[in-house]
């Protein structure tokens, strides 16, 4: 009995940080409709800033003042992010905002590394709560009780704020209908900045308050992101009681999960999420999404045109040039180009669902890494030859996409993005935690091509054939009725249903197909590198593909190719610097704000400028 009480209390105290971060994310989303992916970074900053303050401010008062000040400091940082990064792009499509906040993650990661160094910091004990409380014959750190008290305090405070104060009621009104609140004369930019400050401050307090339990380290940002998304998805976007209840469920589950199934703690919370989503796709306390409630979709895409003769010539010339590379290029160039082609295939498969289908997946690494792991496991345990592994890897990735997609295509917009990210984290956690099979953090080594393909040039030709073949298939599919139906579902799901097209089935099939191609890219990758690690399943890998698609231009079929080339070369160059994430992050933010149509958009702009004389009559008429 005592054991259970202590376990429940431990779960409650673990829920505190999760609830603070999730409620902040929820508040920001509710009003601004921006899913702040950098919210985990605010949490991490709260911990580091709180740590530094605690070394300066001593004693009981100092400890609590540090937590509060850390919250204020992070709130101000949030304010800077809101005003500097998000304000210029509120009118842009949702995806732009998501990608921009990912840029913020990278910037904050490197700035934190720059300021506090790479070592993990161990949090100080809270003065007055260093000891343990005895419950029956069980012991509980007394600080756990403080955290429980804190989360109830914040819940009560937020309830008071949103129900009893004028500002809070305005925020709630804005959550329901932004335009109406604007029409009533409320200054929206003030309101947006205000909730951003509040939401970020909550994450900062969460980070600082958990210092005595967890300390501060550089992985905190991504580590909290997945559970926070799970909490927000279970609780319902924009609902604070939902965030509270869901944080409790997840934390209790974790505490008891450790006792019963220690290997499955990470997977367990996703199982709960999946169950909730089957019965209530908008979460326990959330409301179904109304269409068009998010950032604008941007200008409509131009209709697809058949390839012109000149384009065919250019493509043929590119293919011949790539085939001729080994005649004059050295090993380094061939390896680099193989990387480029793999990245292009990976990104084109994402573009298929994201660009054509409007399905913004934040977990595309699941199928890339999934395919790579499938190939590696086949070689490792079944001693399969490369050919067989390469055949089965895409199938395995497609199967994975079939399962993940079944859940995800029920949702749209940001829910879809968060759910795909969460599922990718499940796959990652399986690879990471199931060390007996996957080697865990050490990965799987010694996955080399068959003898005939083991030379650099031979493998280059293999990548060229399969990679370009995959890309060509994806491009071809865009022109088929299936590709059109996918775009139709994105343009107007209402219209699709009214002419008898099963939008979800089309989207699910596209998700599987894209997963298959992404798995092929993963298989090509694993034999090129000879090894596979859980990093290939990480959020950062999913974002590589997103950034490539984004960099190239979402609305163009050739965007992912242009983006893939530039991004891979750029990364190859940038990664020689110590703080390359900082540069990459700033670059992403710059592109989002300055080049919303990507590289292809820039190309079109240049072409219009150069040969603009006749112009298209249609565009002039519009």
């Amino acid at each position: 009995m005592d054991f259970f009480v202590v376990q429940i209390l431990t779960g409650l105290s673990n829920a505190a940080a999760l609830f603070l971060v999730a409620s902040g994310l929820s508040i920001i989303f509710g009003v601004t409709r921006v899913v702040n992916f950098s919210h985990g970074s605010f949490y991490m900053l709260g911990a580091f800033i709180g740590y530094s303050l605690m070394t300066v401010l001593p004693g009981f008062i100092g400890f609590w003042a540090s937590i509060l000040l850390a919250g204020v400091a992070v709130g101000v940082i949030g304010l800077i992010v809101e005003m500097g990064v998000l304000r210029p792009i509120y009118k842009s499509p949702e995806l732009f905002q998501l990608v921009a906040t990912f840029g913020v993650i990278l910037v904050i990661q490197d700035l934190t590394l720059l300021i506090w160094g790479p070592d993990d910091l161990i949090g100080k004990r809270s003065p007055g709560f260093e000891g343990v409380v005895k419950i029956g014959d069980q012991l509980l750190p007394s600080y756990d009780l403080v955290l429980i008290f804190l989360s109830f305090l914040v819940l009560g405070g937020l309830w008071f704020l949103f129900n009893k104060t004028r500002v809070g009621i305005l925020v709630r009104a804005a959550t329901q209908d932004r335009e109406m609140v604007g029409a009533l004369g409320v200054n929206q930019s003030w309101l947006f900045s205000g909730v951003f400050f509040l939401g970020s401050a909550l994450a900062g307090i969460g980070g600082a308050a958990q210092l005595p339990k967890g300390g501060a380290d550089l992985l905190m940002d991504f580590n909290i992101l997945a559970p926070v998304f799970v909490v927000v998805v279970i609780g319902g976007m924009g609902s604070i009681p939902g965030a509270f209840v869901a944080a409790l469920i997840i934390s209790e589950l974790n505490v008891f999960g450790v006792q019963l199934l220690p290997q499955s703690t990470l997977v367990l919370m996703f199982v709960v999420m999946a169950v909730v989503l089957i019965f209530r796709p908008w979460g326990l306390f959330g409301r179904p999404e109304t269409l068009g409630s998010h950032g604008s979709q941007g200008p409509p895409e131009a209709p697809l045109r058949a390839f012109s003769g000149r384009l065919w010539l250019a493509l043929a010339a590119a293919a011949i040039a790539l085939t001729a590379v080994p005649l004059f290029g050295g090993t380094f160039l061939q390896v680099l180009l193989a990387d480029v082609i793999i990245a292009c295939l990976f990104a084109t498969s994402l573009h298929f669902i994201l660009g054509l289908g409007g399905l913004v997946s934040f977990g595309h690494a699941a199928t890339f890494g999934g395919g790579a792991y499938a190939a590696a496991l086949l070689v490792q345990y079944a001693e399969a030859p490369m050919e067989m592994a390469m055949l089965f890897a895409p199938l395995a990735a497609g199967l994975l996409a079939l399962v993940i997609g079944w859940f995800c295509v029920r949702l749209s917009g940001v829910y879809f993005a968060m759910l795909t990210l969460a599922f990718a984290q499940v796959v990652w956690s399986v690879a990471f935690q199931w060390g007996d099979v996957t080697g865990g953090d050490d990965g799987i080594l010694g996955i080399w091509p068959s003898a005939w393909a083991s030379g650099t040039t031979a493998y280059y030709y293999l990548v060229l054939t399969l990679g370009l073949g995959g890309i060509a298939t994806l491009l071809f599919m865009a022109y088929t009725p299936f590709g059109y139906a996918l775009r139709g579902g994105r343009d107007s799901a209402l219209r699709s249903e009214a002419i008898g097209i099963n939008v979800r089935l089309v989207q699910w099939s596209a998700f599987i197909f894209a997963g298959f191609m992404s798995g092929l890219a993963g298989a090509l990758f694993v034999f090129a590198k000879g090894s596979i690690f859980p990093t290939e399943l990480e959020i950062a890998r999913s974002f590589d593909a997103l950034i490539i698609v984004f960099l190239g231009g979402v609305q163009s079929l050739f965007g992912p190719l242009a983006g893939g080339v530039v991004f891979t070369l750029l990364q190859d160059w940038l990664s020689r610097f110590e703080y390359w994430r900082l540069f990459l992050g700033l670059m992403i933010i710059g592109i989002v704000i300055l080049l919303p149509n990507g590289l292809v958009g820039v190309g079109q702009w240049v072409r219009n400028r150069l040969g603009a004389a006749p112009g298209k009559p249609e565009e002039e008429a519009a």
């Binding site: 209709p303 022109y479 299936f482 590709g483 059109y484 343009d491 219209r495 009214a498 002419i499």
Partner: protein, 273 residues
């Protein structure tokens, strides 16, 4: 002769009876207007007919087959077309491709890969665009069309699977007066030629009185009157409930006579264009 039989359609939201025991019949080639003041239950009726809303009670039979309980997709396959109050078309496709998609779906080709979508059913799509007077704009992007043209495109899409029944939710909402008459005249011609039954809701009494074959007046979820345009116009209860007072209605009638003269001019203008 009626091929659509609606019997005792009832729906309440909370304590409000949005639609109460509505029954109606529709014959082939008939243009039936469903009118009523705001909140009368028109849209609720429509959504139940099209499977977007499940009624509490009642049945809807199309040629003896029950529509209630079917998804909108199934209902479409059973030969019901629909246009929306706010047009819903594929903005990133051409006018032609929008119609081709409806044809591809009708021929169950969505999951096929060859030939490419833009090469499918071109003659059929052209014929449909010609029917609604849009063939000259076939290769334009739907996103650059004027609103009235989008409505025509929607009509072409709705006709793609040769429906028996066409549901049009406020077909002329948001259009200029000239365009309204043109679109309804076009619809009336198509209905006559193809023997389609049309049920439409409409706020513009000029449009209703000029084109409907029969009018159904809905008030507080119940049918108040059902009859020809003249019968409904003359019905004192309709005058009282729907338009609030006899004097207003008289003025309306005067305005309408003027409007029909305008209408005929518009038709000629359209033929010339």
């Amino acid at each position: 002769m009626s091929f659509l039989e609606v019997r005792g359609l009832t729906k309440s939201f909370g304590g409000v009876n949005a639609v109460n025991a509505v029954s109606l019949d529709l014959k082939e080639g008939e243009l039936l207007a469903l009118i009523g003041p705001n909140g009368a239950g028109k849209t609720t009726c429509f959504n139940m007919l099209y499977g977007q809303l499940k009624p509490d009670e009642g049945s809807v039979k199309l040629n003896g087959r029950e529509l209630i309980g079917q998804t909108p997709r199934k209902i479409w396959r059973m030969g019901v077309g629909r246009t929306f109050q706010i047009t819903a078309t594929y903005a990133s496709m051409t006018v032609m491709e929008n119609v081709q998609m409806a044809l591809i779906s009708h021929h169950r080709g969505i999951f096929s890969v060859w030939p490419p979508a833009s090469r499918r059913h071109r003659p059929e799509a052209h014929a449909l665009l010609e029917l609604v007077g849009m063939e000259s704009q076939a290769e334009r992007a739907a996103s650059v069309l004027a609103y009235g043209d989008l409505k025509r495109l929607e009509l072409a899409i709705a006709l793609a699977h040769s429906p028996r029944l066409l549901l049009m939710d406020e077909p002329t909402a948001g259009m200029a007066p000239k365009e309204r008459v043109g679109l309804m005249q076009l619809t009336a011609d198509i209905v006559k030629e193809r023997k389609i039954g049309v049920l439409f809701t409409e706020h513009d009494m000029d449009v209703v009185f000029a084109h409907a074959h029969r009018v159904l007046v809905l008030n507080r979820g119940e049918i108040l009157a059902d009859g020809s345009v003249d019968e409904v116009r003359a019905n004192p209860r309709v005058q009282e409930v729907y338009l609030g007072g006899g004097s207003t209605f008289g003025e309306q009638e005067d305005a309408d006579t003027g409007q029909s003269a305008d209408g005929s001019v518009d038709k000629e203008g359209l033929a010339n264009a």
